[in-house]
Subunit: 322 residues, 3 copies
């Protein structure tokens, strides 16, 4: 395997930049570490002292209250000091470079950067810079790039599947929707393969599939009813608002008719199939409310597990565990 | 009494949505609980561990730094973890419904929502949804609706009156100003009646009085000098900037002349009458600076008591008390 | 010496409004207090309980994420509760005066205001008001006025010089750049004189020098090569973007040619001279990247010392020390 800036010399997690290229042992380690953190959240006092006195910087170059909040919750439950920086309107607009900003925060004794940036290169650039300047004690977590993908989303999806289905090696998983514009989808496919899922299906209209989809080791379906038949796990993708009109799609009603998950289509999957969605949902576009709020949906547990997974990543990065 | 979503089966506070309909015992319980919290604020270390490890979400659908800060102070002095969410520009703009946002935050183990929304229905809707989904351990506090009213304001007013005047049952209280556009006024009238105040007066120009004012059990005065004669408590209302010109009022100078509280008018009240104002004040419009900064004003103590009252509400809701 | 609102009757720091007029003993006391705080930042748990339960308000009337963050870090490392208030869009826009806002926050038991305002008068006004109303237990720190100067910047500069050079009384220090628009420069000159630096030089084009510069007890140079000869310390000033074009300067390229610090010009200073910059840097305008990232630059240590100095100021103001 090529140089992986995410792992240190001992093969342990140094940064979390992407789920791609993470070996099975590291993925499993993260999921195992997350498990006890799900219990913390149900205690009377939802706090552990693992990151006490550590400084976590939410470095958001684009606004995302939802994502920022999940990381802020995870960090505060680990007793870290959290600093929220919305940078679009600040230093960089004064002509300071991204790396000067990072250098300054390092000089303020940052321990971790949670980075959200319109360009997926930004977290890598920061990680590279930290390595080049010998600051191995500072860690980077990618909280999403311009396409609203982020590896902790992929990890919480894997946690959710393992929680409900146990053994990955016997599952058929279908990913449904706008694969073309979703890095989550690509990350999920990699993670599912790495964890041993034997059959991954992709269900989407031709206009929302990348050309190289056939090289990804997935079965491609353009008919949702065919694709859902007999699956254990359905992972819905969010349809970005900006895709809903224009050249790629006729209309959101039309999309719902063919690719929206309804109870009638869900009935084609295994009876105990679970339904996942990364949120926020477009009810009536990619998913029907009856399914979103139904007994097979595990969409809210995904959110709960997401906090635990982020706590796991943060504690692993700083060498602390519960 | 009809179903009151604010009280649980034992008649204890479940949510704080409005001061209206709260029984005297509950009102008194809140005021009693607040008393020791006023002393916390004067300690060297202004913190109590009552909400340690609890997650309080300031869910602000409209911006109000002032109000948000009072709740943030109260929550942090109780050692809660506080998360500030300005939602106008976030998830809901991605097409997520209010209740999906709430569901997500519940899945992140929220313990309390402090809700500010342009529509007064929002906190009720959230409370209903929590009840319908069996999440009785999560509490809602209304931090103000579109007319900038909020029940903790009413409660701190009652605390202030009790602090300075003791027995409610011997008082004459005058509410002065824009009753028409003020939900605070309505809440105050209800609370004053519930707590046993025998005479509540309303002083306002006809254009700033609701048509149903006569049904509220108050004495109406259009002449401020008449209305203030012999009162124990003067509760000034804030004149919203947007009312100052236009059809309802001739001008702010004119308003001040007839309904602005000056020392000369204040002299008509009892010598030991107290002057209250919810802030922020329009000096020279509804109140003269000499009165606002004078010896009978208790406007700053109101702010201090407001922190204690919010601490009391939060600790009662979560079942902790000092 | 005239009345100094920054010092109490015992000559101790009551507020930090400006570095000008602070006696040598007070400056030295701050620097001495900061020293142990630089070590806190390298501990596993970067926290001290000195301000536990204290309420620090970042009162920012103009936005500055960078500056706000440095004070937030300092306060949180001292275990204070920190409240960030961006006021431009809040209470004052509702017609409340600055002092009413301050009175309200005092009533919420504020212990310290960190004030950033476009007008340098604002922190003084607040300090005066606190004195006039007998609230000596509440402290004000000036976090910068409209020209982006702030005394903690001057103090961290002095800390940095002392750290690297020890004895102030043998140094030649050059301040380079836009002295005209920089209050930092004026503060630095005062502090350097107070601390006993025998030779302070100012290097700038004539258009960027104040007319009264000759009264400041400095040696003025318009030729950078002459001015840098034999100096121990080079303090670069930031060239504000808005100065780069227009009547005062021909162009940023031209400025760099004559007043940008390059390795070739740096070679004229003493071999062990240090290079300082308050950040954010305009690389290629006032400083060359090779110098900014070179072995003589102490620009990032300045940032680190800045946190320690702010911790020192906050702990001295509240009467706590490490």
């Amino acid at each position: 395997m090529a140089y992986n800036p995410q792992l240190n010399r001992n093969g342990e997690l140094q940064h979390l930049l992407t789920i791609e290229g993470l070996p099975r042992a590291v993925l499993t380690r993260i999921l195992d570490t997350a498990a006890p953190f799900t219990e913390v959240a149900e205690r009377e006092v939802k706090k552990l002292p693992l990151l006490r006195g550590k400084s976590v910087f939410n470095l958001f170059f684009e606004n995302s209250t939802r994502t920022r909040t999940t990381f802020e919750i995870a960090a505060k439950r680990l007793s870290a000091d959290v600093f929220n920086l919305n940078i679009s309107t600040s230093s960089t607009s004064k002509g300071e470079t991204l790396l000067d900003t990072v250098d300054n925060l390092c000089a303020m004794q940052a321990d971790m950067f949670v980075v959200r940036h319109a360009s997926s290169g930004a977290p890598y650039l920061i990680a590279q810079h930290l390595a080049a300047t010998g600051r191995d004690h500072i860690h980077v977590v990618n909280a999403g790039d311009g396409r609203h993908a982020h590896p902790t989303q992929g990890l919480l999806d894997m946690y959710t599947i393992r929680h409900y289905k146990g053994d990955f090696t016997k599952l058929t998983v279908a990913i449904v929707g706008d694969v073309l514009h979703s890095r989550v989808a690509r990350s999920q496919i990699h993670a599912l393969h790495t964890l041993g899922v034997p059959e991954v299906r992709v269900i989407a209209p031709k206009t929302l599939l990348p050309v190289e989809v056939s090289k990804m080791g997935v079965h491609v379906f353009h008919d949702m009813r065919e694709g859902l038949r007999g699956v254990d796990v359905i992972m819905m993708l969010r349809l970005q608002n900006e895709r809903m009109s224009g050249a790629l799609l006729p209309s959101s009603q039309e999309y719902f008719k063919y690719f929206g998950l309804t109870q009638e289509k869900l009935a084609l999957a295994k009876p105990d199939a679970i339904v996942m969605h990364p949120g926020p949902m477009n009810r009536g576009v990619e998913i029907d409310s009856a399914v979103a709020d139904g007994g097979q949906a595990v969409i809210l547990p995904q959110v709960t597990f997401g906090i635990a997974v982020r706590m796991a990543v943060m504690s692993l990065l700083t060498g602390q565990s519960a």
